[in-house]
């Protein structure tokens, strides 16, 4: 990434990031990721999914290609960090409103969009 390196393609994740390894380099530099070309300059370390993160940071030597992670149905998809974008998490008040509005008796419900 940003450097000229040669290595073996270990695998590609579902987001199109390519993972390389070349043990000719020092430990710590021998595994790297090349982000999907689509993101161009907007690459970010959080775009690496958890299972490849493990391999990339030497928590395991088995890449997810040979040792895939167990899949459960409650697992949600990996997302990158959205901070600073318009998809970022914005905290909102969950406190009950101090004043409740009137709703007419005839069954209709008025939608109040109250500040």
């Amino acid at each position: 990434m940003d450097t000229l390196k040669f290595g073996d393609l270990v695998g590609v994740d579902k987001y199109g990031n390519k993972y390389y390894q070349n043990n000719y380099y020092f430990y710590g530099k021998n595994r790297w990721v090349e982000y999907n070309d689509k993101v161009f300059f907007d690459y970010d370390a959080s775009q690496v999914p958890a299972e490849w993160h493990n391999w990339l940071h030497y928590m395991t030597d088995d890449p997810p290609t040979t040792n895939p992670r167990v899949q459960y149905k409650w697992m949600i998809d990996h997302t990158e960090n959205f901070s600073g974008t318009n998809r970022q998490y914005v905290p909102y008040s969950t406190v009950k409103q101090k004043i409740t509005q009137w709703q007419p008796k005839d069954g209709q419900k008025i939608k109040y969009n109250v500040k």
């Binding site: 101090k98 004043i99 009137w102 007419p104 008796k105 005839d106 008025i110 939608k111 969009n113």
Partner: protein
């Protein structure tokens, strides 16, 4: 002695023979008392004043004054827990011990009358200090150390006085003598009890027995086993004044249940205001924290509410004004569609269009119970500019309209005021005649005043025409429920006529909540005629806070509306009117303006969100004609605005702009209309001087019974839009019903 008789009289009131006997007893006591007074007055024209020395300072007092009162005159405050000016003296807390020269023991100053000349009191001597420290040590010995979680914290007499007068150490050894613990009692949804904190001052017991007239609270046991409680494990105090024992409690044993753990006194901002839930005009202070209404407390005003407040006034607005609020303008685009949220521009334009497009003679405006005088002035000006005279004060359709003054009676204030004034009830009333009213629930504090006068033998003759078997907290003679009784009295055929004639000051109070019957009772005219004939003072007991202001400004009662069945477009402007059976003309454009959405808001085509009495500055006039004002404690929620401003804005968009932009200018206009409406004063009461021409003849009517709308405590809690929205008031209804069921009382 007298006090004891009066108290025990009430306690045994269920036994009729007892009542008679006790009444005789009281009569006798009264006459003999007055005789004594007469003789003593003959002996010496003015009572001899006695000299007392409080800390070397000379004070002249009348014989019989207590040391504590004398010290107050000298500007020395003696610490006290059980003593309260408006309650009887108990003398059981011993905090007010002072050293009196030539007395071996310290003396409880609240119970010690000054009877001899030259008494020397030392309120700062080592003996006094030691006595106070000793009492404080005993009190704190059994008092829990839970101030951090106690609602009284910050306004606690025990905290303050232990800081000021207590010792800095205690000899209590908890491992040898554990602290006393007392089980908490459930006494209803308004008062929370933490009985371990109780110091047995018995202020609550004395208040409930003496002032509230509900002898449920009492003490059981002696010494360290003494407990305050309802003897029979009652789960609700059947009283409309029970909230006051929270204010009276010097410690945190009785705290307000709805207010529990919500705020600290030092966080609150207090704004002086006036209560609007009944027509008494009680002085209150509204406590808010960061734009949130937290609680309502009474403010002392001897002429109106002394220092008490009715439970509905105290608790209903606090949560009632937080539910079902109208906070944004709503608009029904066409007759068949539903209400939708809109901007103020749209709502005002719709109102403006309607005001322009509809014939002025087919426009009507009706103001409800909480409306301030400013709004009425602006509304009346707008309608008069457009060319309509139809501005009405709402009269509930359930009520008998002939007990209200009609528009021809409104020329004289004496015709519709509570002329005796509330404080005047204590001033030599010989005969009190209550007609068609359950005064206990229509105006609890007026009733408390009558009870006070009755207990002090200032009113001894009370008669009632109306509902039979009302529990009014004092003895009265029941004359019947029909207008026939009234007619008999006017004709001079009734047995009470002699007493009426004899009475120096007879006071007649006519209720304004008499249920409608098939035919009109004509009660108003008959009572006027009665008063004119016997020279009695005529009083109307209004139920709504806006009534007197409306009458002063010339609004007609809505019972005089003339609605026809024609399909021509008409306009109906309701300000805070809630009435299920309100007649709405056909093809009518209904504007609902108010702070709470209730029954009539459902029929509206435009809803204009107004503000409640806690959110605006407005003039309110109490039933006795006292001009007071509410002040804004918080801002109106969301897009709600002050009521007179809404009307003023509508006038602009209807192309009839009214010539005032600020409250001061509105009040200038008000001064032109009715000068007294701008002379706000909580203390002074201007009495009308003009006397209306007497009514000579009353048309004969078939007898109709005069039954008040509210019968028992169950009916009291939820009577208007604010209290109907209040969860606390619903809880009160439930607990009262439960308690009534348990005691086998019908409601």
């Amino acid at each position: 002695m007298l006090r004891f008789v009066a108290a025990s009289c009430k306690r045994t009131a269920n036994n009729p023979s007892c009542v008679v006997w006790l009444k005789e007893c009281r009569r006798h006591a009264r006459t003999s008392g007055s005789k004594q007074q007469q003789t003593s007055a003959a002996q010496e024209t003015k009572p001899k004043l006695l000299e007392v020395f409080i800390d070397e300072k000379k004070v002249l007092v009348e014989p019989g004054t207590t040391i504590l009162e004398a010290a107050a005159m000298a500007g020395v405050e003696i610490p006290r827990f059980c003593y309260h000016e408006r309650l009887s003296v108990a003398g059981n807390c011993r905090m007010c011990l002072v050293e009196v020269e030539k007395s071996i023991k310290p003396v409880a100053s609240c119970a010690m009358p000054i009877m001899m000349n030259g008494m020397k009191v030392k309120t700062n001597s080592p003996m006094t200090k030691q006595a106070r420290e000793g009492v404080m040590e005993f009190l704190l010995m059994n008092h829990p150390l839970d101030c951090p979680i106690c609602d009284q914290g910050g306004e606690c007499d025990l905290q303050d006085q232990s800081m000021a007068f207590g010792s800095d150490r205690s000899r209590l050894q908890v491992e040898l003598d554990p602290k006393r613990a007392v089980e908490d009692k459930n006494i209803g949804p308004l008062v929370k009890t933490i009985m371990t904190r109780c110091i047995h001052c018995t202020r609550c017991v004395r208040f409930m027995n003496e002032i509230a007239g509900c002898e449920d609270l009492g003490t059981t046991g002696r010494g360290s086993d003494m407990q305050i409680g309802t003897y029979l494990e009652n789960t609700a105090l059947l009283s409309e004044l029970s909230g006051n024992i929270v204010d009276l409690c010097p410690v945190g044993a009785l705290t307000s249940k709805p207010y529990a753990f919500t705020a600290r006194p030092w966080e609150l901002r207090r704004v002086d205001s006036v209560d609007v839930l009944d027509a008494v005009g009680s002085n209150i202070s509204v406590c808010t924290r960061s734009g949130d209404l937290m609680r309502i407390l009474p403010r002392e005003n001897d002429a109106v509410n002394e220092e008490w407040l009715a439970d509905k006034s105290r608790h209903a607005p606090v949560d009632g004004l937080k539910a079902q609020r109208l906070t944004v303008p709503l608009l029904r685009p066409s007759k068949s569609s539903q209400l939708q949220m809109c901007d103020w521009e749209d709502a005002l334009l719709a109102v403006g269009r309607a005001l322009n497009g509809i014939q002025p003679s087919r426009m009507e405006a009706i103001v409800g119970p909480f409306v301030d005088a400013e709004t009425m002035v602006v509304l009346k000006d707008l309608f008069n500019t457009i060319g309509s005279e139809n501005v009405y004060l709402h009269v509930d359709s359930d009520l008998d309209k002939s007990c209200f003054p009609s528009s021809k009676d409104l020329d004289f204030q004496k015709n519709y005021l509570f002329n005796t004034s509330i404080a005047g009830l204590e001033d030599g009333v010989d005969l009190l005649l209550l007609i068609g009213t359950n005064i206990r629930f229509e105006a609890p504090l007026v009733n408390a005043r009558i009870r006070k006068a009755w207990r002090n033998n200032l009113i001894n003759d009370i008669a009632v025409i109306g509902e039979n078997g009302l529990d009014l907290l004092y003895d009265y003679e029941y004359l019947g429920d029909s207008t026939k009784v009234l007619a008999d009295i006017v004709a001079g055929k009734h047995k009470i006529v002699d007493r009426l004639k004899k009475a120096q000051k007879a006071v007649v109070i006519l209720g304004q909540q008499i249920l409608k019957k098939d035919s009109d009772s004509n009660a108003y005219e008959m009572v006027r005629a009665l008063c004119d004939k016997y020279g009695a003072e005529f009083n109307l007991l209004h139920a709504n806070a806006s009534t007197v202001a409306a009458f002063d400004l010339g609004l007609k009662p809505s019972s005089e509306r003339k609605t026809d069945n024609s399909d021509e477009q008409s306009l109906l402007w309701l300000i805070g009117v809630d009435d299920e059976n309100l007649t709405i003309p056909n093809n009518s454009f209904v504007i609902y303006q108010g702070h709470t959405g209730d029954i009539c808001a459902n029929t509206a085509d435009v809803i204009l969100p107004g503000s409640a009495f806690t959110e605006k500055q407005g003039t309110m006039i109490s039933m006795e004609g006292r001009v007071q004002q509410t002040l804004a404690a918080i801002t109106p929620p969301n897009m709600a605005r002050e009521d007179w401003k809404i009307v003023r804005a509508c006038s602009e968009l209807a192309n009839y702009p009214l010539p005032y932009d600020t409250l001061l200018e509105v009040r200038e206009r008000m001064q032109q209309l009715a000068p007294h409406l701008t002379r706000h004063s909580n203390r002074k009461l201007e009495k009308p001087s003009l006397r209306p021409p007497p009514i000579s003849s009353v048309s004969a009517q078939s007898p109709v019974s005069l039954l008040p709308r509210m019968k028992s405590l169950v009916d009291y809690w939820q009577t208007d839009a604010i209290s109907r929205c209040s969860p606390t008031m619903s809880k009160c209804v439930l607990s009262t019903k439960k308690e009534f069921d348990k005691r086998g009382i019908k409601y």
